[in-house]
Amino acid sequence: MNLKIRLYIIVTLLALGLGVALIKAGFLQLVRGSALKELAERQYSRVTHYSSFRGDIVDRQGRLLATSVGVHSLYAEPRRMNRPDQVAKTLKHAMPSLTNAQLERLSSDRSFVWLARRLDPNISRRIEDLKLDGIGVSQEEQRFYPNHGLLGQTLGFVTIDGQSLGGVERAFERYLKPKSWSALSLQDARNRPIRSYLAPNSEDLWGDQITLTIDRNVQFVAEEVLAQTVRAHGAKGGWAIVMKPKTGEILALANVPLINPNKHEKNSIAKRNNAISRTGEPGSTFKMVTFATAYDLGLIHPEEKIYCEKGKWDLGYMVIKDIIAKEYLTPEEIFKYSSNIGTYKIAQRIGKDKFYEAIKRFGYGELPGLNLLEEARGYVSKPETWGLARFANVSFGYGIMASSLQMALMVSTIANGGVRVPPKILKNIQRANGEVYNPLPEYRPVRVLSEQAAQAMTQIMVSDTESGTGKRAAIAGVKVAGKTGTAEKLSESGRYAKHLNLSSFAGFAPADNPQIVALVTIDEPRGVAFGGYVAAPAWREIVEAALIQEGSVL
C-alpha cells in the first residue's frame, strides 16, 4: 500500500464522517424537525393567564348598573419556598390581619395556595415591595354594583370565583364575559419571560357592555314607592313593572325587599325576581281578557244592562258573590265594580274555546320573551278539561297561573291598540371596540284585538280610575286607564284565605296616547287589602315619575 492509497483511504473516511453528520443533520432537521420543534417549543413556552373583566351593565341612558374592578389577591407557591416560617413572620408583620390558619398554608406541599383575597391595595403594594420568594399578588376581578340594591334581583350577581348567578349577569353571560385570555409567552430556562405572542389588546380583556332598557331613575322611584307602600301597609313585599307599550321596553322591574348584589351571600330568600318569576292566580285584573274578547267579538253593547243577581248567584255547582251587590249593571259598571257575576255572564257569551284562544293570544302560558332565565311561563289548562266552575273562575282570574309580567303585557297590548309587542329588557350590546349589536331575535308584534275593542277597553279602564275602584290611581291632568286587582292567595292549607291578598293595580297613561304601562303588586298587605286602596296610589306615583322621565308629558 503506497502513500497515495493511504491518503485516499483517510480522506475518504473523514469525508464519510462529514457525510454521516450531514445525513444525520438532514434527518434531525428535515424529517424529525417538526416533532423536535414541538418539544422545544413546549419547554420555551409558558401559558400566561390574563385577568379579564366582565362588561358593564348600564341603563338606557348609559348610567352604570354593574361594573368590574380589579382587586389584588395574595397567593403563595409553597413548593418554591425555602424558609416558610421566615416568610410567614415577614408577612404577618406586613399584614397583621393574616390569621395563623392562613399562614400555615405556607408550609403545605401544594404548588399554589390563596392566602388572602381582595386585599386593600396599600397592603398588597407593601407585600409586593417585600419581594418575597414564592409570594405573589395577582389581579382578580370583582363585580361591583354602584347602586347597591337597585335592580338587584334583575341584575343577579357574580361570585368571588367569577360565577354568575341569576339575572342579567347569568342570562347574558356569554356576552358579558370576555374570552378568558391565556397567551403563549416565551421563557428562558430560568423562567424569565422573553416575549409573548398573542398578548391580548386591552379591549380583548373586557367583555361586551350590556345596555338595558331599564331607566335607573324610574327604577329608583319604583323601588322607593314600593318600599314605602310595603312599610305603610305592613306587607310582605311588593313588585312593580313599568314598560313602554309601543316598544315593549321595560323601564323598571322592581322587587321589594331589595337585595344588594354586592353582598349576595345574604338575602337568599329575597333573591326571587317576583315581578317576572312568581306565578299565581291573577284575580280580577284578568277580567280585562274577558271584556276585551267580548268587545272584540262584538258580544257586548255599552248601553245594555246585565242582570247581576243582586250580588249572589247560586249556580248549583257553585255560588258566585260580588262585593258590590247590584241588580242591573252596564258592562262598564261590571268592570268598574269588578262584578264577578257580570263577568262570568259575559264570558258565557264568548264560550270556553274562543275564550281560551284569546287567553293564549294575550300571551298567557308562554314565556314573555325577556330572555331572562327566571321568567315564568305560567299555566293555562286546556278548555276540554274545564268544568263549569273552572270556566267561571277563569273568567274572573282564578284557576290559571300567570306572572305579573304577563299581566303587564296584557295591559300593554290594550294600550297599544290591541297589538302585542313582546317585552324586552336588553336594549343592545356594545363590544369594547364600539360595535353595537343585538343578538336576540326580533319578535314580530301580534294583533290580539281589533283597534275598536282596545278602544272600548281603554274607555272602561278610564272610567275605573275616574269613578270606580281605581280612583286613587288618577293623575291630575292625565287620563289614566287601569284596573284594580285583589286576588286571594292560597294559604298553606290550600284554601283561599281572606287575609292573604295580592293587591294590585295595572294600567297605562295617558289613556289617549299611551306612553307608560305599569303594574304594581303588593304582597299580603295588612288591614284593608283592596288593590284600589293599597296599590293604586303607588301606581300613580310610579307612573308620574315614569311619565316625567320617559313620556315627556307632565
Binding site: 500500500m1 502513500l3 469525508a15 462529514l18 417538526s34 420543534k37 417549543e41 419547554q43 430560568r190
Partner: protein, 360 residues
C-alpha cells in the same frame, strides 16, 4: 487555487463563528456580565490574534518545524505537566486545562495537538522505509503520545485524548505503519478505554445518556436532547439569526462545544450544510496539499494538520447530533475559545504556507 480555497473556507468558518458566538452568548453575557458583547469582544480579539498567527506562519519555512520538532514536543509535554501543578493550572468545569499567564490563559491540550502533528511528521519522515518495523514504526510513536494521553486524562480532558489517539493512528497509517500492528494496538486500547470510561462516573453517565438520551433528558442526557431539539427547530432555513431560544440557558455550552446546534437552529439545515461544506473543502484541500507535496515531511504535516481539524470537526458534529457521547470538543475555527481558535489558525496558516509552496 488550492490555497485560495483554504483561505475562503477557513475565513468563512471564522466569520460565521464570530456571528454565532455573538448570537448565542449575547443574552447570557448580558445577564452574567452586564455586557452583551463580553464574548464577542474576546472572540474578535482571538480572531485578530489568530489572523496574526496565520500571517506569521507564512514567514516560517516548514523545514523549521522539522528542525525544532523535538523541542516543540517537549515544550508541549511540559505544558501538559504544568497544567497539573496546583497554582499554575487553572480549572474550569472540574477540569484543569489552562495555564494562566496573567491575563492570557493557554489551553495546553490545544498546543499539544500541533506539537504532536509536527513531531509525528518529522519522525515518520525520518523513519521512512523502516516504518513497517514494529520496533521503529509503532513503539516510539505510541509511547510518546501515550505519555501525553495519560497527562491529558489526568486533567481530565477526554476529548483531546481521543483526538490525540485518532490523529496518531491516522498519521501512523499514512506514514506506512503495518495495519496489523495498528489493529493490534486498537485491540489493546479497547480494555484501556473501557477502564478509563467506567472508572469515571461522569463518563459513564455520558455513555448512558448517549445510548438513550431521551430517558435521561432531565440529567445526563439533557445536553444532547437540548441539542437535538435545537437542531430540529431549525428545519430547512432556521429560525433566523438571533431568533433561537435554545441559548437562553436551555442548551449548555451553546457558544462553545454546541455552537453547531445553534447554527442548525438559527440557520437551519442550510447553515449546517454550509459548515460541513467548508470543512469538507478544507479536508480535500489539505489532502491535496499532502498528495502534491514532494517532501515526505510536508505530506505528513499537511495530512496530519488536516486530520486534526477534520477529526475534531467530525467528532464535534457527531456529539452535537448525538452520534457519539459528549466529550467536550470545540468546533475548530467556529466555537468560542482563544487557544482553540489560535491553534486552529496556526494549523490553517501552516497548511496555507504548504499550499503556496506547491506552486514554486
Amino acid at each position: 487555487m488550492i490555497s485560495r480555497l483554504i483561505l475562503i473556507s477557513s475565513l468563512s468558518l471564522l466569520l460565521l463563528g464570530i456571528v454565532i458566538v455573538y448570537s448565542s452568548s449575547a443574552i447570557v453575557a448580558h445577564l452574567g456580565y452586564h455586557d452583551s458583547i463580553f464574548f464577542l469582544k474576546r472572540q474578535l480579539f482571538y480572531a485578530l490574534v489568530g489572523v496574526g498567527v496565520f500571517v506569521g506562519a507564512q514567514y516560517v519555512d516548514p523545514a523549521y518545524y522539522r528542525k525544532y520538532a523535538y523541542y516543540l514536543y517537549v515544550l508541549a509535554i511540559a505544558l501538559l505537566v504544568l497544567v497539573l501543578v496546583p497554582g499554575i493550572g487553572k480549572s474550569a468545569g472540574g477540569a484543569a486545562r489552562w495555564i494562566s499567564l496573567g491575563v492570557i490563559r493557554i489551553q495546553a491540550g490545544e498546543i499539544f495537538k500541533f506539537a504532536l502533528v509536527v513531531y509525528l511528521a518529522m519522525s515518520l519522515a525520518k523513519k521512512a522505509e523502516r516504518m513497517t518495523l514494529f520496533r521503529v514504526g509503532i513503539v516510539p510513536h505510541l509511547l510518546l503520545p501515550g505519555v501525553a494521553m495519560v497527562l491529558l486524562l489526568l486533567e481530565p480532558d477526554f476529548g483531546t485524548t481521543v483526538i490525540v489517539a485518532l490523529v496518531t493512528f491516522v498519521m501512523l497509517f499514512i506514514g506506512g505503519a503495518r495495519v496489523a500492528y495498528l489493529l493490534g494496538a486498537v485491540l489493546l486500547a479497547i480494555p484501556v478505554a473501557i477502564q478509563v470510561i467506567s472508572s469515571s462516573p461522569y463518563r459513564m453517565a455520558r455513555v448512558m445518556a448517549f445510548l438513550d438520551p431521551w430517558t435521561h433528558r432531565q440529567d445526563s442526557g439533557y445536553q444532547v436532547v437540548q441539542s437535538l431539539m435545537s437542531l430540529g427547530s431549525g428545519g430547512w432555513f432556521g429560525l433566523g439569526l438571533g431568533q433561537g431560544p435554545s441559548k437562553l440557558y436551555f442548551l449548555p455550552a451553546a457558544h462553545t462545544d454546541f455552537i453547531l446546534a445553534v447554527i442548525g437552529e438559527e440557520l437551519g439545515f442550510v447553515g449546517i450544510l454550509f459548515v460541513i461544506a467548508c470543512f469538507a473543502c478544507l479536508l480535500f484541500c489539505g489532502f491535496w496539499v499532502a498528495l502534491k507535496s514532494k517532501d515526505n515531511f510536508n505530506t505528513y504535516l499537511a495530512s496530519g494538520l488536516t486530520s486534526v481539524i477534520a477529526i475534531q470537526a467530525v467528532l464535534n458534529t457527531f456529539v452535537v447530533m448525538g452520534l457519539v457521547p459528549t466529550k467536550g470538543l470545540t468546533l475548530p475555527l467556529v466555537s468560542y475559545g482563544g487557544s482553540s481558535l489560535m491553534v486552529a489558525c496556526l494549523m490553517i496558516g501552516v497548511l496555507f504556507r504548504l499550499a503556496r509552496g506547491l506552486k514554486q
